[in-house]
């Protein structure tokens, strides 16, 4: 399987996993479009929920969304109205990212052998951009540094009239 076709397969797994999550624990409507390659300079976001995986293939699965969407989806998950961006909202975004990545990882493991999943990292701010910088001692950036020239394969979603994206960076290990 070529890396390009594998990335397409993983994107389908991401869509399927996100759909399952929204149907079982979030109970919000969900629409999605085809994935496309997005350069990191084009990414502007408020919240990033990121999980990395290592094994025969290594990569990052990241949820990019606005604060408004983060509040809506955390409220739905917790069945409580949340109006402020608290640590509980960040925790919820981390768990959502974790459940999507975990299910993708299970599918990848079945095909390519065991993989290790990281604990989720959540970054929140205003109009964040994401750039992979080499030789930088920040964990999130170190995770991304090996992909510094790779574009994200981004799947766009819409739920509750809010857009969000799930991005994928993927590479065969030792290459």
């Amino acid at each position: 399987m070529t890396p390009e076709s594998m990335m397409e397969t993983v994107c389908l797994d991401i869509t399927e996993s996100t759909k399952t999550l929204f149907e079982t624990m979030i109970m919000m409507d969900l629409k999605y479009d085809e994935a496309s390659l997005v350069d990191d300079t084009q990414i502007k976001t408020d919240v990033i929920g990121m999980v990395s995986f290592t094994g025969k293939y290594h990569g990052v699965i990241a949820l990019f969304c606005s604060k408004t969407f983060a509040l809506k989806v955390a409220s739905a998950l917790l069945m409580t109205e949340l109006n402020e961006f608290t640590s509980e909202v960040k925790d919820a975004i981390g768990e959502i990212s974790n459940m999507i990545a975990g299910n993708v990882k299970t599918k990848l493991t079945a095909q390519y052998g065991d993989m290790h999943l990281s604990i989720p990292i959540v970054i929140a701010g205003e109009g964040l951009s994401i750039t992979a910088v080499n030789n930088h001692p920040v964990v999130a950036e170190t995770t991304l540094s090996c992909f510094s020239k790779d574009p994200w394969l981004m799947t766009p979603f819409v739920s509750n009239n809010e857009k969000f994206n799930i991005g994928l960076l993927l590479r065969e290990s030792n290459k």
Binding site: M25, A74, L77, L78, E88, D91, E95, N98, G102, N103
Partner: protein, 125 residues
């Protein structure tokens, strides 16, 4: 009435599991929470726990390391452990069961799936 220990590094997930158990009609008297396997081990030994629900990927001590440590401690060996985790692969399920886990539930889950898995260990109203 039973006391349930929930080991998960996400406070949100601990809250969701509690809410789902309460809404499903499963009888639980008290929930005890732990944020990783190490804290879970202390609480499992020092409390009168009837059922343990345990995540897999956690800092300090993972869920599988908790299962191994708790089962090899020789203490309270009859307490059932159900893994509640995003790790859904057959190999992981086998590994958990061969080390002493009694049940396995993959996240995300519906309230019905949770009730079905825990119904073997808890009474229903």
């Amino acid at each position: 009435m039973p006391k349930v220990l929930i080991i998960d590094d996400s406070a949100v997930m601990r809250k969701i599991i509690q809410r789902n158990i309460q809404q499903s009609g499963l009888l639980v008297d008290e929930f005890v929470e732990a944020g990783d396997g190490r804290e879970g081990l202390e609480k499992a030994i020092s409390n009168n726990i009837d059922l343990i629900l345990c995540d897999w990927n956690m800092p300090n001590m993972t869920g599988i390391d908790f299962v191994k440590a708790f089962r090899s401690s020789g203490q309270k060996s009859n307490i059932p452990i159900v893994m509640v985790t995003t790790e859904g692969g057959e190999t992981k399920i086998e590994e958990a069961k061969s080390n002493g886990a009694n049940g396995y539930l993959t996240k995300p889950f519906t309230p019905e799936q949770l009730k079905s898995k825990l119904g073997n260990f808890l009474l229903v109203k």
